[in-house]
Amino acid sequence: MIRSLKIQRKKWFNKETFALEFHLPGINARPGQFFQIQVSDHLEPFLNRPISIASYNNNKLFLIIKIVGKGTKVLSTKEAGDYLTLLGPLGKGIKAKRRTSLLLAGGIGVAPLYFLAQQFYKNRINFTFLYGTKTQEDMILKWDIMRIANESIFITETTSVKTTSGNKKGTVVSSAKELNLRDYELAYACGPKGMLIELQKLNLPIPIYAFCEDFLGCGYGLCLGCAIMYNGEYKRICEDGPVFELKGIDFEE
């Protein structure tokens, strides 16, 4: 479904991360699903930018965008009142399973996991939200996460963050190692590829569902541009995912 939507509100979290709010009634949005945003009415940048759903509540759609290149840079210049062309929701996404869960968010990977966390909260499913960033300024949605998570752990690589479980400095992976994983039945992870690879190496005793990202061509399953080797065959990140069980992913291929 393709729509031209007006930006209702825009909010900056820090110098490079902002949220756009749209009014969009009647979609059936699932965590992991995303929208393809047309960056320009002209032909440059040419491809759309895939942005995960960070929240969908009362017909309000929130997309959180981090400036990482020229496309997201252009998007950052859009203001409330401007219109953007959105294609979606795309991808299969996942349904929040009724299992005590551990959410592992690295960097901007927090956005889709925040959407998942809200589903857990609504459905009264217990979960711990572990969230790591490079610096304290990079950390967004901290209070929103604390409000809904049964337990939240925040960690940065550069400075210690005061948390419910004491002062921490490190990464999502180093913190995950310290947790008692028997407390959880399932984990969900979203973050840089390096983080997912390290997590995979940890061989945690619980299944981990990884929210994958990539440069997409179309985003709706036709161009076969976003291949990921999963259980021995190429899957499309956009249409078959973007959530895959981590142990089935071959990051080398």
């Binding site: 393709i2 047309q38 032909l43 440059e44 940048p45 040419f46 491809l47 759309n48 496309g71 294609l87 990539d214 440069f215 997409l216 061509g217 179309c218 709706y220 399953g221 036709l222 161009c223 076969l224 541009g225 976003c226 291949a227 990921i228 080797m229 065959e233 190429y234 291929e253």
Partner: protein
């Protein structure tokens, strides 16, 4: 403008180029609006495609290195073609062998169940066959003449302008029995990762960045004597119109669909307004 080509009537002269729209089974409204669909390239055996990254955005376009991922001709005939035939547009199957024998076997396997074939001798992303056949006049002509013996359906050859003169190859293909020429396929292209100091992707460039060159190529072969399907970065009715002025009898839409799935509908409408 009458929409008759290769002895067939078409709903219009805007087609879906091979590769970007899969088999047209999703977004059926779009598939049904165009004159013809050129399927994703079909090989004899199934192909899993190339490892990622397969897509890289470039100024006004993109490089792709998908590598002809497809289910193979048997699966195509059994699982896909029956569904595709329920849709309205003319069906041209893009065939990509790694040997001349494979092209022949694919055509034989498909038989008469489609409206025509597009012989792909221009894919830059596979090791065997593909662009190597399209750069060699003798091989291209031999391939066309052998396939010609196996089918009476319209036979279009999709040409490359990579390191060869499409006019020379086109002439040889028409003499060998081709009913039409599609051009251009993607251009050789690369991007480098400056941090790792190595290539990031090597593949085929498409999108509006290649349109001026595509127009030049179409114009160069315009007097070839068979219909030309102009391809290369068409994003608007005006772009399409330019290809008609360059000598194309029809156009095929590719990369723009990635950013705008409904682009074919818009282009058909814009073209109608321009051409009256």
């Amino acid at each position: 403008m009458k929409n008759k080509l290769f002895g067939l009537a078409f709903k219009n002269r805007v087609f879906l180029a091979s590769g970007v729209f899969g088999f047209g089974l999703k977004y059926k409204r779009i598939t049904n609006s165009v004159g013809a669909i050129f399927t994703k390239g079909i090989t004899f055996e199934s192909r899993k495609g190339n490892p990622p990254p397969r897509i890289f955005e470039t100024p006004c376009g993109l490089i792709n290195w998908v590598g002809l991922e497809n289910p193979g001709v048997d699966n195509f005939c059994i699982k896909i073609l029956p569904k595709l035939k329920q849709l309205k547009p003319r069906i041209f199957v893009n065939i990509a062998g790694s040997t001349i024998e494979e092209y022949i076997k694919i055509v034989e396997r498909i038989g008469n169940g489609v409206d025509g074939f597009e012989i792909n001798i221009s894919c830059p992303n596979v090791k065997e066959g593909g662009v190597a056949f399209g750069q060699n006049t003798k091989i291209a002509a031999r391939l066309v003449s052998l396939v010609r013996k196996k089918t009476s359906l319209p036979l279009i050859v999709k040409l490359t302008p990579n390191f060869c003169d499409p006019l020379v190859i086109a002439k040889a293909c028409v003499e060998a029995g081709a009913d039409g020429i599609s051009l251009i396929n993607t251009l050789y292209a690369m991007a480098f990762d400056i941090k790792k100091k190595r290539p990031l992707i090597t593949g085929g460039l498409s999108g509006p960045a290649i349109k001026p060159f595509a127009l030049y190529c179409v114009n160069r072969v315009r007097d070839i004597g068979v219909p030309i399907i102009g391809i290369g970065g068409i994003c608007s009715g005006q772009d399409a119109y330019e290809f008609f002025l360059a000598g194309a009898s029809a156009v095929a839409i590719g990369s723009v669909i990635l950013r705008e799935p409904y682009a074919p509908l818009r282009i058909i409408k814009e073209l109608k307004q321009l051409m009256g």
